[in-house]
Amino acid sequence: MAADSIGGITDEHPGEHVDEHDAHADFLRKPVSSNRPRELVLIICFILLVLLFSVTAVVSRLYHRKIHTLADQWYAQGDAAFHAGDAKTAIIDYRNALGYSPNNSVFQLHLAQALVSAARFEEARSYLVNLLAESPGSGEINLELARISSRQRAWLDAVRYYHSAIYGVWDADPLVQRWNVRKELCQFLLDRGDAAGAQPEVLALAQEVPSGKRQKEAAALLLRTGLWTRALQDFQAILKQSRGDQDALVGAAIASYQLNKYAQALDYFERLHRSAALDQNAEGMLQTSRQVEMADPFRRGLSAAERATRAAAALAQATSRVSDCSRQHGEAISQTPPVTDLQMLYATAQGMSKDWTEANLARHPDRIDAALSLAFQMEDAAAQQCGEPQNGTDRILWLLDRSRQGAAQ
């Protein structure tokens, strides 16, 4: 009895002591024929059930159709607004679409993207985190989270999400998508000034270039990362394919310049169209390359007299630089006996000055190398004592020295 009572109330009304056993027995005592009405009711119930089932099926199908139509309509409107740059309207439309299809991950992702565009990062993040919980390997979701993290200056999270995106699942064109994400990661790291962190990523990027077009982008990133040799190789490879590629020429010129290959840099710069506009940095490089070439006594095709002139000028410049540098340090350059490097080099230069006059050098070209070697030593010593020369002929001479050293290596 207790098992069939509700809250202590049973069907035993006052004065009506119905034992459960008796009730059960009463029920059992009903002859089989008395079940006929129940059978009939049951049949009617089944008929009603079938009818209601059919009605519900029709109703729910119509409902789902309506819901899907509305969801698609709002989504399409949202997409149109988003592509028109109206993120605010897009968010409302996407939200409406999601109202009808709350579990649609495409809608959620697009809404998150629209929220990111509207700089509503926290809202976007919550959608994306939810999506990520459902599909942690999704490249697209990880990428969006990486973008949000980078904008919110959560650097470690950003790198983590970028890596998850790189190694994540992409539905269409996964190689290209991964390459693009890695490129974005490289740019993110370089924008942060983390060139060291970017180097392995850029190298991996250059290693996996999916198409020729992308090679230029990879080479540009190699250039930004300071991987000059690899960048030059890549730009040269591009130039083999397309000799007149202006971007590749600039890139190759910059890489050559950074590798102290001024003649090569000048060559690339000069192959550019006249109309090609260079940025200030590249323009400076071009000018410096020209100056280095103008001052370079080792340039091919120079006459002996010209070579001697350049060498004598370099020697004079270096002597002057050493002298100035010594003065800056409050030291007498012509102290006897010479003690410091600068004094010793200056003394050597003074000692050889009669032999290494322009005329003597023109007459004895074999002395040019020794004279220039001393000039470079003096520039080196002065650079160590007084810092690298920032401009003028001293800088040209110093760059020339670097170039020579690079060539020798």
Binding site: I6, D11, R29, R38, L49, L52, T56, N96, E123, V129
Partner: protein, 602 residues
């Protein structure tokens, strides 16, 4: 087998050929005959077996019916919303302003003229039907609830579809039970079965629905009805999911607890939830009787006035209109700033109160969840603001807030815990929601003695059993009443002389004979004394007449259960469950009555 009852009850009485259809290939009517045989077999199985078997079968049938009805109900609400407010989440101002008010007029007419029984949320009406009307809920009420609630919720009244679904399910069950001419007892039991089915389908959460119906409607974990309720709830959810898909009402973000200190944050949420739920309860308790006292004509305009107010609010905050599942979903995903969340919680409380007090039929579940989610989110966001190291997401707070407010407002703490677990599908949510729900529950309980649904029925002049009061009643056990040292225990080999000596001259206490392990009998002290006085007597205790065997009772048994035997025997042996030969004490009717009186006095 001569008993006619047994004869009818035995299925083997049916000829075997009919029970198990033997297919005969040459029989031209074989398929029809086979179907008929199967039908007969099953109808006999169902109808001629015990009524319990039929009841379980009906539970499934009711579940399917309720599931279908709830699908139609939800679709009706959505379609009403499309028609009245349009398809966007932010409807145009004229629609927001006018739709609830105009619909309110229609609702008032329907409630006053055609479906007067469809008033209220549906929970206390179902409870009243169970306890007062012997489980009777008219089918007209079901139809009325369906139409009026669809119109109310679809037009933006701040109410939910769960409680009406509960009543719709209960009404369907009651109608089926009556049609099948079930016994009165079963009809009374069948309404909660339908209620669980309706709620489960509306909530897409069968466990929570079962727990709620047990916690709020039935009040006891009765094994007899539990099976049927579970069957009905599961079958209704399966039916609903077949048509509307398995997705829960809102998508719940992942939850994890990083540090035990986070429970302090949940405790704060519990305090806030308890306070807000208490304010809401007090407001309804204060305002409802006063509004009910207003002239009858005003009832025709109350829903429209409520609609007008809600429309005005909805122009600025359309989120508070209707059930608000999508807004809960957004809150769970941290889509709102804390001040908006708090504003939504307060305004939703206001609009829900207005809708409910105006007499508009509709449920309190969805609004309670809404207020809880917003409150939880805002508390979480504020805590994040002051303690940025807190790792819990705002969505988690919103989820726990739902359970917290639910426990405080509806006073169903167990349902709220199960609900959060079921919605999140994550047991990590259990502990936070336990902490905050219980705090909210105790605050609400401390300052508002009567829970919401009981309060509503009492305001309507009905005194229904309060589950909460019953939960707090101390149930007495045998141990509380037994007397440990008043009986003499005799072994069968004890001589009567020795026994009489132990009995003493004046002692009248019973003598319990341990006949063998697990069998206790009663010896008459006067007889023992008389036989022992005969010098030629060589009898032992086992050799003289005794009464019994006595029913054995155990110290942990409920005192109410023992009452049935107490009058038949002067004392009952209370024995150890591990050693049936070991007497722990004795229990007499007087002891039981004394224990009950003592407990009542305390």
């Amino acid at each position: 087998m001569s008993d006619p009852v047994s004869q009818i009850a035995q299925p083997p009485q049916i000829p075997q050929a009919e029970v198990t259809p033997a297919p005969v290939a040459s029989e031209p009517t074989q398929p029809l005959g086979r179907i008929r045989s199967i039908w007969r077999f099953w109808t006999r199985e169902i109808f001629t077996g015990s009524e319990d078997r039929l009841f379980l079968f009906l539970a499934i049938l009711i579940g399917v019916f309720s599931g279908l009805a709830v699908v139609c109900f939800r679709v009706a609400i959505e379609w009403t919303q499309f028609a009245v407010l349009g398809s966007t989440l932010a409807p145009t101002v004229p629609r927001v302003f006018l739709a609830p008010a105009i619909a309110g007029l229609g609702i008032a007419f329907l409630v006053m003229k055609i479906f007067p029984q469809s008033r209220g949320s549906g929970v206390n009406q179902t409870k009243a039907a169970v306890y007062v009307l012997n489980g009777y809920i008219s089918f007209k009420t079901v139809i009325g609830k369906f139409i009026v609630c669809a119109l109310a919720i679809g037009s933006g009244q701040s109410l939910g579809p769960e409680d009406p679904s509960l009543q719709i399910g209960a009404g369907i069950a009651s109608a089926i039970g009556r049609s099948l001419k079930l016994s009165q007892k079963k009809i009374r039991l069948i309404a909660p079965v339908g209620a669980a089915a309706g709620l489960a389908a509306a909530f897409n959460a069968p466990i929570s629905a079962v727990v709620f119906v047990i916690e709020e409607v039935i009040g006891t974990w009765s094994a007899g009805v539990l099976g049927a309720i579970v069957l009905a709830a599961v079958s209704s959810v399966v039916t609903m999911r077949y048509f509307l898909g398995p997705e829960s009402l809102f998508r719940v973000p992942p939850i994890q607890i990083a540090h035990p200190a986070e429970f302090i944050a949940y405790a704060v949420l519990g305090l806030a939830g308890g306070a807000i739920s208490l304010i809401f309860l007090k407001w309804i308790a204060y305002a409802r009787p006063r509004i009910q006292k207003l002239p009858r004509w005003s009832k025709y305009v109350q829903p429209a006035a409520a609609g007008l107010l809600i429309g005005l609010i909805g122009i600025r905050l359309p989120q508070v209109m209707g059930a608000g599942y999508s807004v809960i979903d957004e809150a769970l995903h941290g889509q709102f700033a804390w001040h908006l969340l708090l504003l939504l919680a307060v305004v939703k409380l206001l609009t829900t109160g207005i809708s409910f007090l105006s007499g508009t039929p509709g449920g309190m579940f969805a609004p309670a969840l809404f207020i809880g989610a917003m409150l939880g989110g805002s508390v979480g966001a504020m805590e994040h603001h002051f303690f940025p190291r807190l790792t819990v997401t705002i969505g988690t707070f919103a989820l726990v807030g739902m359970g917290t407010f639910f426990a405080g407002f509806l006073r169903v703490p167990i349902t709220s815990i199960f609900m959060v677990i079921e919605l999140s599908g994550n047991y990590s949510a259990a502990l936070p929601v336990m902490v905050s729900s219980l705090i909210a529950y105790f605050i609400s309980h401390r300052f508002q003695a009567v829970p919401l649904f009981d309060m509503l029925t009492r305001q309507d002049g009905l005194i229904l059993p309060s589950i909460e009061e019953r939960r707090e009643q101390v149930s007495l056990v045998v141990e509380d009443a037994m007397q440990p040292e008043t009986a003499i225990v005799a072994a069968p080999s004890d001589t009567l002389v020795v026994l009489a000596a132990r009995l003493g001259e004046n002692a009248q206490g019973p003598i319990l004979l341990r006949a063998r392990v697990g069998e206790w009998r009663l010896l008459d002290p006067a007889e023992v004394r008389g036989l022992a006085s005969d010098p030629l007597n060589t009898h032992t205790a086992g050799g003289i007449p005794s009464k019994g065997p006595l029913p054995m009772i155990f110290p942990d048994e409920a005192l109410e259960e023992v009452l049935r035997w107490a009058g038949d025997w002067p004392v009952l042996p209370v024995v150890n469950r591990g050693d049936l030969g070991k007497l722990e004490g004795v229990l007499a009717l007087a002891d039981i009555l004394h224990a009950f009186r003592k407990a009542a006095a305390e």
